[in-house]
Symmetry: C2
Subunit: 451 residues, 2 copies
């Protein structure tokens, strides 16, 4: 089993102990039934547990109390051994993760109605177990959880040496997977066939998808979960797929390519606009820069490009102020990346938004997931796009929105959706694109398609 | 979206109405968070819902009351359309599945504390919703659920024309997937690489695995979920993998092959014994035959084969009575197959065991999942195996179990686990192997490996 190196775990635990005086208990979670109890979805441990315990195991609790680390976990029964093979002992596990003490789960009862902090595991069964232990009678429980959430968030915002290496591993396999998808496209007939070439690479490296892959000729549907469409000459294929390592670290990459092997002139023109926004945003990334400014830059470069293509009329800055580019780019330019593909989204906007900031109601900014100054060793995505979404453009067209040259836009109807997304490490020296090995210029993408 | 044909749905609904006088409400279930709420496992609707409603949709309730069918489902919001694309209207969906009435989920409140029957969906959130609606104050609720469970079970035990066609589809893709796995083995270095070749075939057909694939050089671990081992000359690779159709119907197939391309003499000898049991069991399948007799036959043929190989000493029948073969074959010879890979296991042993029958405590019979007379149009698996499981054999060896020739067994130590599994339709004319296109004789397997 892959295990996080001990010095890294010790450092993370020490840092958490420094900001969180109260005992901390984190549950890894329980496997979840798919159609019946014995047929579960592939287990994924809670990210907070993975971060501190470093072990991708189910039905475990990691505690940090008075500077000691404790593992609660039940060893397998002899019947389990028959079906699931020999498993490590509790002490083997604890030792492999530098944990000081180890007990069966029944020993958790010592925490019954005691003061401790926890964060909800993703699955409802574990959440119930957490509530059962953290009795509502104990005063200040909710506040303790908030203090822990804030402490974990501050830790996880900045990647350490090992988590950066893990994200690099996920990124490297993801690059290979997209390359395999590109190479498979010319001989494929459906979205599903290209998807199979991509996910085969994840599986052959014994990794899993960090999220439901998007492989679609309808890129205008932002989270499209369907793969049944045939590939037709003239289609663009939008692929948003990323691998996750055994220890839970994610990559998140999007490319858009022509199924015929060659962009049409209109597709190439829009693609260059999106790429210009992508490149400008990455170049602007540095510690201290407001991520919202990166998002605003994406909107402005898109606006300028669409003005050049005579799809929009007006001054780019004021088009942004009028919310015009968000008709074509309604989502945020990116988000935190780490153990979760939208890192720490289980904590709501706590990680994404600096203290005191809230989601804007403005169309161009409401879906922005990250709104705080960039810090050294954050990893973020940069993913501008251009989409013709009927639900958004239809009403603008009916209203006769005058900033959009509708006749000119009609010439670009073979561009339903384009997105270009890379994963960027905010290094002390500036932006480092962890997924730079994947072609993004149109001519390099075309070359990869034909390779 | 794939939809079950209307005449089939009408027939299933009419048959259920005939056995269940009270109103029936079935929930499809809710998507389940993986690491945060927006990152869910791929949704799988409850099998009972799929059977009757015929629609693979989430957050829906299908009702059958007084001969009328009703769909409760909330249409997507405009914001949903932005992220997930245009979706059908409630009425489009209802019409596509021949449903008479359609309402939003809020209309479910008319059932609050009313008398109706339901079966628990797999996910806990939906189970809570079911409990909230089916108030404990209503007398006879538990009994109503039992009557519905028995009625659904009787219906689903025997496949109809459409479900058989669906299982055939799953079986055909599964055969292709195993063939791809065999062809990939000689150039693969790890279990994960072979698995990737297998699951690529599922994904390219836009199907999903019906259960966690087993692809292991440690076949002695019955439900082995690991794929990291290297393939080493002399290893046998045990592959248990099956596809599931969009509407939920499963295949379940196992083959075991030598990673070098050629069985060793000892591997070939044991393989032939398992294959003899497999063939004998399939031949014995017919309507009216007790499935336990098939299991007993597997034990007996295995015993006879191991006596021939001088691994066991004694008379095969009495070896079975002494529980000797179950040291090498501790699981059941198969199970029901349908919408669930262990069909209707969510109902416990209700489907698997005829009324009045219970699990035996005998080692050779306790894991048998099916113990009732076979009926026309059942689909069952047949999956004898031979394993050297340290946890089982160790104690027998220490005791010096005299029916086992330990010195002779030591010569077969390159056989850790072999299983051969096919899916069999109990047709009125006798057994039809739905997965017969996949090589099972050792020489055909070897030819496939080298193809």
């Amino acid at each position: 089993m892959d295990v996080t190196p001990l010095p890294i775990l010790q450092q993370r635990r020490a840092r958490l102990s420094d900001c969180c005086a109260e005992p901390v208990l984190l549950w890894s979670g329980a496997p979840v039934a798919r159609n019946f109890a014995a047929n579960c979805y592939p287990f994924r441990a809670s990210s907070h547990f993975l971060y501190l315990a470093g072990l991708p195991i189910m039905n475990a609790v990691f505690a940090l109390a008075a500077g000691r680390s404790i593992l609660y976990w039940d060893e397998a029964s002899p019947e389990d051994d028959l079906w699931h093979g020999p498993t490590p002992t509790r002490w083997d596990l604890a030792r492999s993760a530098g944990i000081d003490e180890a007990y069966p789960l029944s020993a958790l009862e010592q925490w019954q109605d005691q003061a401790f902090a926890t964060l909800p595991a993703p699955d409802l069964l574990t959440q119930q177990r957490q509530r059962d232990l953290a009795g509502p009678a104990v005063p200040g429980m909710a506040q303790r959880h908030q203090i822990l959430a804030a402490a974990m968030m501050r830790l996880r915002l900045q990647q350490d040496e090992f988590s950066l290496a893990q994200i690099r591993t996920a990124a490297a396999v993801t690059v290979q997977a997209h390359q395999a998808g590109m190479r498979a496209t010319l001989r494929s007939h459906t979205e599903a066939e290209v998807r199979s070439a991509i996910e085969q690479v994840f599986i052959s490296h014994n990794l899993v998808p960090a999220y439901g892959s998007i492989v679609t000729v309808h890129g205008e549907v932002l989270h499209n979960p369907h793969y049944h469409h045939p590939l037709q000459a003239g289609d663009l294929l939008l692929v948003d797929a990323g691998a996750e390592t055994t220890l839970g670290w994610a990559a998140d990459v999007t490319r858009t390519w022509p199924v015929s092997g060659t962009f049409s002139p209109t597709q190439r023109e829009i693609y260059q606009v999106v790429l210009a926004a992508h490149d400008a945003c990455i170049e602007a990334i540095a510690p201290g820069v407001e991520y919202e400014a990166i998002h605003r830059l994406a909107l402005k470069v898109l606006a300028a490009g669409l003005v050049d293509l005579k799809i929009l009329r007006g001054d780019p800055e004021s088009l942004v102020d009028q919310e015009i580019p968000s008709y074509f780019f309604p989502h945020g330019v990116g988000h935190l990346l780490g153990l979760d593909v939208h890192d720490m989204e289980d904590l709501g906007d706590l990680a994404g938004y600096a203290p005191g900031r809230q989601r804007s109601q403005r169309p161009g900014f409401r879906y922005l997931r990250l709104h705080r100054p960039l810090q050294e060793n954050m990893v973020v995505t940069v993913e501008p796009g251009f989409y013709q979404i009927p639900a958004l453009l239809g009403s603008a067209r009916q209203r006769g929105e005058s900033a959009i040259c509708w006749d000119q836009l009609d010439k670009f109807r073979d561009v339903r959706g384009i997105r270009i997304e890379d994963d960027v490490w905010v290094s002390p020296q500036g932006p480092v694109v962890l997924t730079a090995a994947l072609a993004s210029r149109p001519e390099s993408v075309e070359a990869q398609l034909k390779s």
